[in-house]
């Protein structure tokens, strides 16, 4: 079924930025350091460039099927049976992503701000906000996602206070490229994780006005560029602030740096940062759950609101089970999952479309 609502290129920019900016940022410098040492920022830049290419491929795929989401054109490309299976796997994947965000954010909250609060309460809050935020029309969700962009800029300014610290040492960055080219390239798969979220483009691109023009792509490119720059900045900042030995043992370097800061009226900037970061994490959750509910409602033909409640309940139960059983499966597989669902499957779909010359079938025109 063709989607009826339309969004502009600017809206798409905000949606993508908010979806990509999520929990990944807090742990990012630790991970990149693990893989590429002090050259983590180079690997982020490379990954950013790489994602731009992937986004271009997704665009090429999507313009073949104007106003159709992934859940619709998968059936055109792969046939009804296989298409439904693909939709099902994608829904499971998106739900897993929400579970992952649920668990990571609740865990960070518990460790940094609310040590005494039982985690299931935090899960419940996340659940309620997911339901409240996602039961709406796409127009409302899009406009909601545009505002927290101001908070991203605000958080950007919070990091400026760090420069008053005397422990900054630019030499930690040098020598550039010391980890070796191959190691840096290898680490790009690790630095993929904070970029996860661009695959929702497969769904949101259906809503854009005049999808075939380059201007439609502009918002997407700028969004990826913005996220790349922001992440690079954060990685460079933490590399400069913390010695290599420190980064190795701190799981959340950004918060660690901020917690040491003190300005005249406020100590413990990390608490403020983390709370505001909640706004941005929740917009990621809302964006994901909106798109997954769209998929569920198309798959088993139920109303959107009911699909939201269904997916929310699923996520709540799964994340509580995973958290209390201490299953770390998700973190291990995240890298591979994002590789498969964000890059490999779209490329395969594009190849099939080009080779077998699939087009928006006439059956869809009738609807």
């Amino acid at each position: 079924m063709k989607v009826k609502s339309r969004i502009s290129s600017e809206n798409l920019f905000f949606v993508l930025v908010q979806t990509m900016m999520g929990v990944g940022l807090l742990t990012l410098p630790h991970q990149t350091h693990h893989a590429a040492g002090s050259d983590g920022w180079i690997s982020i830049l490379i990954t950013g460039f790489f994602i731009q290419l992937i986004v271009l491929l997704i665009w090429l795929l999507c313009i073949k099927f104007p106003n159709l989401t992934l859940f619709d054109f998968s059936k055109v490309i792969l046939g009804k049976m296989l298409g439904t299976v693909l939709n099902f796997i994608y829904i499971i994947y998106l739900l897993t992503m929400i579970c992952y965000i649920f668990i990571v954010y609740a865990d960070i909250l518990k460790r940094w701000i609310l040590p005494e609060t039982p985690v299931w309460v935090l899960f419940l809050i996340e659940f309620v906000l997911l339901i409240y935020g996602s039961i709406c029309k796409i127009k409302n969700m899009i406009s909601l996602l545009s505002f927290p962009f101001i908070f991203i800029l605000f958080l950007f300014f919070i990091t400026f206070f760090v420069y008053g610290d005397s422990s900054i040492d630019v030499r930690y960055l040098f020598p550039i490229g010391s980890s070796g080219g191959w190691n840096i390239l290898k680490s790009t798969s690790d630095s993929m994780i904070p970029f996860i979220g661009f695959e929702t483009l497969l769904i949101y691109f259906a809503f854009i006005k005049q999808s075939k023009t380059i201007s439609a792509l502009k918002g997407v490119f700028l969004a990826v560029l913005f996220v790349t720059i922001f992440l690079t900045y954060i990685v460079i900042l933490s590399t400069v602030m913390l010695s290599p030995e420190e980064i190795k043992i701190t799981p959340e370097p950004v918060l660690y740096i901020l917690s040491a800061m003190e300005i005249r009226i406020l100590s413990r900037l990390d608490l403020i940062f983390l709370s505001f970061w909640g706004l941005i994490v929740f917009t990621t959750i809302i964006s994901y759950s909106f798109s997954v509910s769209m998929g569920i409602s198309k798959l088993i033909r139920i109303k959107h609101n009911f699909a939201v409640i269904l997916s929310g309940t699923f996520v709540l139960i799964v994340s509580i089970i995973f958290y209390y059983m201490e299953i770390t499966l998700l973190e291990k597989w995240l890298k591979h999952l994002s590789l498969i669902f964000g890059i490999i499957i779209p490329i395969l779909l594009l190849l099939i479309t080009i080779i077998f010359k699939r087009e928006a079938a006439s059956t869809y025109e009738k609807n």
Binding site: I113, S146, F147, E262
Partner: protein, 496 residues
Amino acid sequence: MRLKRNKSKKSLINQANLSIENIKSQLNHTSDLKDREIHSNNQIYIILYINSLVDQEKLESKIIKPLTKMENNNILNELYSQEISTARSNKIAINGLLDGYCLLIKKGRNSEGFLLKTTASTDREVSEPKIEKTILGAKVGFVESLDKNIFLLRTVTKSPDFTVKTYTLGSSTTTNVSLIYLDHVTDPEIIKKVEQRIKSITLDSIQSAGDIQDCIEDHTVTPFPQLLLTERPDRASANLKDGSVALIIDGSPTVIILPATFMTFFQTPDDYITRWWLGSFFRFIRLFSYIIALILPALYIAFVSFHYEVIPLELVYSLQSSLSYVPFRPFIELMIMQLSLELLREASIRLPPSVAATFGIVGGLVVGTAMVEAGIVSYGGLIVVAITSVSSFVQPNLEMSSSIRILGFPLMLLAATFGFFGIVIGVLCVLIHLSRLTSFGVPYFSPFVPLNIKDFKDTIIRVPSWMIYKHSKNSPHYKQEKRSRKWKLDESEEPY
């Protein structure tokens, strides 16, 4: 029983024939319904009017006197009434009588009567608005009469585009409601929506602007007002020029402006009179104070009961010394203060001004200091509540500032349970809620959600009036020419 009677009455009213007996019985032979026969020029005229609604002077000098001295039978030429219409049915005649017209019927020809305007006016003089005060703005406020309000609005909005559409609403008692907009400026979509919503009102009677507001606002379950009620003609006029629609209700001195977005409630006429630096500054202060009033109590609770480590050490000591005597938790402490403040506020509205000063001293100073000395609240809590209430008084709109009160308590509760994180949850919920509100199809939280930096120039800040070349989204076709400061180029001098 009553319903049935009403029905039979209606069927009578709808009868085409105009008959004095019928009219009298439909008005229940009310004793202020008078009739008078006049013999003139071999004809008998009957004048019917409701004594209490008619201006006696006008009736005597302009209707009765010329009628008795009439020389030919052409009534329309002889009478001095400014408004004459023919009434062919009982219904029209009765409506006219209730509006203060008098009914003139030629005896013998029952089918036709004339309605002549003799309405008595009991308007009070135009006076300065009581609630929306300004420093430099006009000292004129709306009054209770529909015609006079339209007059007031027209005098400040001289334009051929000025359009008035009047509707009669209410099934048992009728009220006239006028819809006013500037054609070519206002978005036709909005006008269509307003007309449709007004036509669908089936209330029995309309008492005030509130009744209309309840019927036509987009969302009822929200603390945020979506229509602007104003008593200032200059404010209404400025909004009309921005492409809004005004609704004037007969008998009500408040005028409804719609659609109103969140930022509309932060604008005042003074912003546009002072220089733009000052205007922007005031507007920024108002917005800032709104946020302060909303989250300061919650922040205090979060700081004191959760995140001691965020405040610098020196401040912790001084807060601690005062807090250690208070037996309550910070949340309860602030609740006590807020509730007593609400009591003071409610009480001060009803008091006569002469007592109010004493009340302020007793209520504010004595109770406040006594509460701290008795150890019921701490100095910190008192300061927070005082700043909060002062910030909420800064709001130019009463309804908007009451939304702070409604939202403030849940935020305090969340802060008491989850600290900072609770505040963020609350703020996010408010944001989600705001992103869904619309006012006549216009997004309510407009320049922020959806984010549109270009529209900031007449919302968060006020740019100089010559720079606002496109007024607002409500008026897509209207553009102002950008040449007001072109003289600057002509007067510029060479540097050497």
